[in-house]
Symmetry: D3
Subunit: 129 residues, 6 copies
Amino acid sequence: MGDERFERGWSKFRELNEPYAEQMRETMERDEPELFRFIVEFVFGEVLSRPVLDLKTRELVTVAVLTALGNARQQLRLHIHAALNVGWSREEVHEIIMQQAVYAGFPAALNGATLAREVFAHRDKQNLS
Amino acid sequence: MGDERFERGWSKFRELNEPYAEQMRETMERDEPELFRFIVEFVFGEVLSRPVLDLKTRELVTVAVLTALGNARQQLRLHIHAALNVGWSREEVHEIIMQQAVYAGFPAALNGATLAREVFAHRDKQNLS
Amino acid sequence: MGDERFERGWSKFRELNEPYAEQMRETMERDEPELFRFIVEFVFGEVLSRPVLDLKTRELVTVAVLTALGNARQQLRLHIHAALNVGWSREEVHEIIMQQAVYAGFPAALNGATLAREVFAHRDKQNLS
Amino acid sequence: MGDERFERGWSKFRELNEPYAEQMRETMERDEPELFRFIVEFVFGEVLSRPVLDLKTRELVTVAVLTALGNARQQLRLHIHAALNVGWSREEVHEIIMQQAVYAGFPAALNGATLAREVFAHRDKQNLS
Amino acid sequence: MGDERFERGWSKFRELNEPYAEQMRETMERDEPELFRFIVEFVFGEVLSRPVLDLKTRELVTVAVLTALGNARQQLRLHIHAALNVGWSREEVHEIIMQQAVYAGFPAALNGATLAREVFAHRDKQNLS
Amino acid sequence: MGDERFERGWSKFRELNEPYAEQMRETMERDEPELFRFIVEFVFGEVLSRPVLDLKTRELVTVAVLTALGNARQQLRLHIHAALNVGWSREEVHEIIMQQAVYAGFPAALNGATLAREVFAHRDKQNLS
C-alpha cells in the first residue's frame, strides 16, 4: 500500500517537474530520503491525488500561497515551473503573483514576480513554453 | 476616472458579497471610508478587474492564501462566502483549504476548515448553496 | 498498511490527548474525516512515530513552535495539554513559552503564556497535574 | 543595578499605560512575574529608554509593526492606547494602520483599524482624548 | 485622473529613491509595468500622499515593519536608503531596527541591522550621508 | 550587576558557539555593540541562564522554532551548530527539523534540512562531530 501510494505520488511528481523529475529524485533520495518519501507518498500520493480539484487548479493556488508566505524561494521557483508544465500561461502565473499584493503586501508580490522572471528566462534557454 | 474605477470595482464587490454587499458598504463607508474606497477602487476596480484570470479562479486562490497566512479570520470568512457565490462548491472550497496543510502546516488548515464549516452552517440558515 | 499506520498513529494520539481522545475522534470523524485520517496516519502514525526522538521531546518543541508562529491558538492549547500528559511539568512548559520572546518577540510569548494559564486552570478543575 | 533598570523601565511603562498601569502591574506580577520583570527591565528599562529616538516616535512604529505582524491583538490594543497617551492623534494612529495595507496586505490593515475603533470607543467612555 | 495620480506618486517616488529613481523606473517599466503603475499610482500617489502623516514619519515606520516581517530583504534595503534620503540619521534608522528585537525577535532585528550596514557602506562609496 | 549578567551570558554564549565564539564577539562588538550586549546580557545571561530547563533542551527547541519561522537562515545555521555543540546528534537535529513539516509546512522543513546539511558539511571539514 505504501508502494501504491508511492507510485501514484511519483506519477504526479513527474508530471509537475519534467524534465527535471528524475534528477530531483536522485538528489532527494540521496540527501533527504525520509522527506522525499513523505513528499511523494503523502503530499503527491494522498493530498494532491485527491479528486474534487484537478492538479492544474491546485498548482496555481500553490504559486499564490508560496508568494504570500514569502519564506520559500526555492519551492516557489519549482511551483512556477510546475504551474507552467500543467498548462497555465506565463501571463496567468504572473497575474496570480501580482494579485498577492492585496493580501500579503507589495513586497511579497514583487519578490514573487522577480522569481517568475528568473524561471521564465531559464525556460527560454531550455526551449520550454 | 476615480468614479469609473469605483463603479467597476463596486460591481465586482457586489457580485462577490451578495446578499450582504449593501449592508457591508453602509458599515464600511461609516467606519472606514478611506479603506473602503481603496478596496473598491484599487482592489476590486483595478487588481481583481484585470483580464487574464477570471474572478472565480481568483477567489479560490484567495481562500487558500488567507488560510495559509492564518492572520485574518474575518476576511477568510468573507472570501469563503464569496468563493461559493461565484460558483465553487463547498467540497471544492474545503479541498483547497485542506491542501494548505502541505504548505503552511496542519494548524493553518484545521483553522481554515473550522471557519468553512461556520460559513456553510450560516448559509444553510439563509438557504444559500 | 493504511490500517497499520492508523493504529500506530491512533495509539500516539490517544496517549497525548487523554482523557479527551475519544471525544476528539468522534468530533473530527464527523466534521473533518479526511483531515482526521491525515493527522492520525501521517502526523501521528508516520512523523511522530519515527524513532530518533521520543514523543516527550517532540511535544515540548511543538508547544514552542506554535507559540512562536502565533497563528493557532486552539492547537497550542491542545499541545500544552499534551506536553503535560507526556510528563513535562507546568514550570517547564511555561519556561519554553517564555523563551520564545527571544526568537519571535514578546507579544508571541505573552499570548502563549496566557493560553498556558487557561490550560492549567482547566486541568485544575479536572484534577489533572 | 537591576533595581535601577526596573525603576527607569517602570517610569516609561507608567507613562504609556496610564490610567491602567498599576492595575496591569498587579495582574502581571501575579500571573507572569518573570515576563513582567523582563518587560519592565529589558523592554522598557533598556530598549525603549535608549536615546536616539523618543518614546513618541517608538510608539507609532510599534502600532504599525503589530498591525503588520497581525498575531497579537491584545498587545496592539495596548499600544494604540499608549500611542494616544504619548501625544499622537486618533487620525495619525489610524493613518499609520491604514498604510500597512501596502506592506502587509489589506486584511492586516482592516484588522488593525477594527481594533483602533474599539480602543477609541473605550477611551470615549473614559473621557480620554 | 490616472495621470494626476501618477504624477503625484512619481514625485514622491523620486524624492525617496534619488539618485536611483530614473534607473529604477526604467527597469520596472520594462520588467513589471503593471506592478510599477500600481506602486506609483496607488502606493505613492494615494496612500503615501495622504495628509495626516508626513513622508519622513512614514518611511521610518516602513523600515521597522519590513524588519519585523523579515521576508523582503530587497525592499528593506530600498526603504533604509529612502529613510536616510528624507532626513533620518543612520543612528535613528539603526535604532528603530534594533527595537524590533522586542516585537519580532532578535533574529529579525539582527538581519535588519546587517542590511542597514550594507546600505550605509554603499552610501559611503557614493558620498551620500 | 550588568557585568555579572554579561559574564554569566558570555559563558553560555561561548559554550554554544565554540570554536567561533571569540571571533563572533570581535565582529559583533565592532558592528553591533548594543545588540551584542543585549544578546549576551539579556538573551544568554537572563533568559537562557534560567533554571527549569537545561541549555541542551533549549537549543533543540530553538532549531525547531527558527525552522518553522523560516525568516532567519543565518541564525538557524548558528543554532544547528550550537545544538550539536551541546550534545545533540546530527540525526536528532535533522529529525526535529523534519517534524516542522507538520506545523509550518513542507517548504519550511525542506529549507531547514538544506541548511542542516550545509552545517554538517562545514563541521566535517573542521573535524567536528
